[in-house]
């Protein structure tokens, strides 16, 4: 299969640095990076933490940045191509990463990889996403213009959330029996389409 990591100059440099890092320290590093990989635009390590890492790993700022970026890059490629852990290990050894580090990548990937792929699959691209479905069934007895109704009416509550917001927007819609039946029939058509995809 095509190699997912090409041995560019910066990869060579990064590999040298990574190989020099102590195995245990690297293990903690890689776990943290893979956990935060699905979050867009968030720094994996705070400024403070990066300072401490520089001292702990005896790397200057540039070198540390390279190591963090390259580790993240390797994992992103693994996700993108959905490589098998064994293949990942082989490819990393092919770019001269030490076997112990390559194995560590491979193990972390095997353990946390599938979960990460699921999270990324669910990352939305739509303006809003439906998060909550609630409802209430009422029996309407009367209103200003009509007495003695006894007409069932359902209120559907849809909780929508915008991608980068914590706030849920509620949409309320009223349905009588006929309207709800029409809505349901449309949902059935959608289901039919979904079924035909599998």
């Amino acid at each position: 299969m095509t190699s997912i990591i090409k041995e560019t100059q910066s990869i060579k440099e990064a590999v040298t640095f990574i190989n020099a890092i102590d195995v245990n320290k690297f293990s903690r590093l890689i776990s943290r990076i893979i956990q935060k990989l699905h979050l867009k635009g968030e720094r994996t390590f705070s400024e403070d933490e990066e300072q401490k890492l520089q001292t702990a790993l005896s790397l200057d700022k540039q070198a540390l940045d390279l190591v963090l970026e390259t580790t993240a890059f390797i994992l992103e490629q693994a996700v993108y191509h959905n490589v098998k852990p064994v293949a990942l290990q082989q490819q990393l050894e092919a770019v001269h990463l030490n076997p112990d580090k390559a194995e560590m990548f491979s193990q972390t990937w095997a353990a946390t990889g599938p979960e990460l792929v699921e999270k990324l699959k669910n990352n939305i691209f739509a303006p809003k996403k439906l998060e909550y479905v609630g409802w209430q069934l009422n029996l309407q007895m009367a209103q200003s213009s009509q007495a003695r109704l006894k007409s069932p009416s359902a209120v559907l509550q849809l909780g929508l959330r915008k991608e980068d917001s914590e706030v849920q927007e509620n949409v309320f819609a009223d349905f009588n029996h006929q309207e709800l039946l029409e809505f349901y029939n449309k949902l059935e058509v959608v289901q039919g389409q979904l079924d035909s995809l599998t």
Binding site: L120, A147, L158
Partner: protein
């Protein structure tokens, strides 16, 4: 005092509404043609249409003073709105006519009222008046799309299906949102559940709550 049992129930409820009482006192010298013109204007206004110009032309065509016309129109409006409120299963035509006879409204006029309340324009009137009642927005337009994401910037083979929904509500608001598959199933399941509950409710309520 008549001992007819229609006395036990007047379609306007307890006391005679003042508009209806004053209308019945102002119907002297009103011929059927004028009555019918006024009725037409009142029905038009109940349907939500603007009838200012219509009323003006009626006022100009008759010698009857405007304030008397005002009483008549107000009374007509009240009679019709009260009568339409009650479902035809509860208020029968004869009872309605009896109630109006008690107010000594001429028989011809009673027939005119009756033809509006029990005629084929009734359902249009009911729909028009119920739009003014408080209600949550209804779903006016519903469009959807099924998408399959083949590949994204993070995954070369994503193959994830999702549903995109677009809802336009009767209050003018517009919502476009994605529905993940699991939520779609939840929505579909809950809709079916409400429908079942509605069916059960309708079967029961007919038996229990008597008019």
């Amino acid at each position: 005092m008549s001992s007819s049992h229609a006395k036990d129930f007047s379609f306007w409820g307890g006391r005679i509404p003042p508009e209806i009482e004053s209308m019945s006192k102002n119907l002297k010298d009103v011929d059927q043609e004028l009555f019918r013109k006024l009725m037409k204007a009142v029905v038009s206004s109940l349907e939500g249409k603007d009838c200012v110009s219509l009323m003006k032309s009626i006022a100009e065509s008759t010698t009857i003073p405007q304030d008397r016309l005002g009483h008549i129109v107000a009374g007509m409006h009240r009679v019709l709105s009260e009568a339409i409120r009650i479902p035809p299963s509860s208020l029968k035509q004869e009872a309605f006519k009896e109630n109006l006879r008690e107010l000594r409204i001429p028989e011809d006029f009673i027939s005119d009222f009756s033809s509006v309340v029990f005629g084929n324009r009734r359902s249009a009137l009911e729909t028009a008046t119920s739009t003014n009642d408080p209600h949550l927005p209804a779903l006016q337009d519903f469009k959807w799309r099924v998408d399959v994401a083949i590949s994204t910037s993070s995954l070369s083979r994503a193959l994830r299906s999702s549903v995109l929904m677009q809802m336009k509500l009767s209050d003018g608001s517009f919502h476009c949102f994605e529905v993940p598959l699991s939520k779609f199933q939840e929505l579909r399941y809950n809709t079916a559940l409400i429908l079942k509950e509605m069916n059960d409710l309708e079967k029961r309520s007919i038996l229990q709550i008597q008019d």
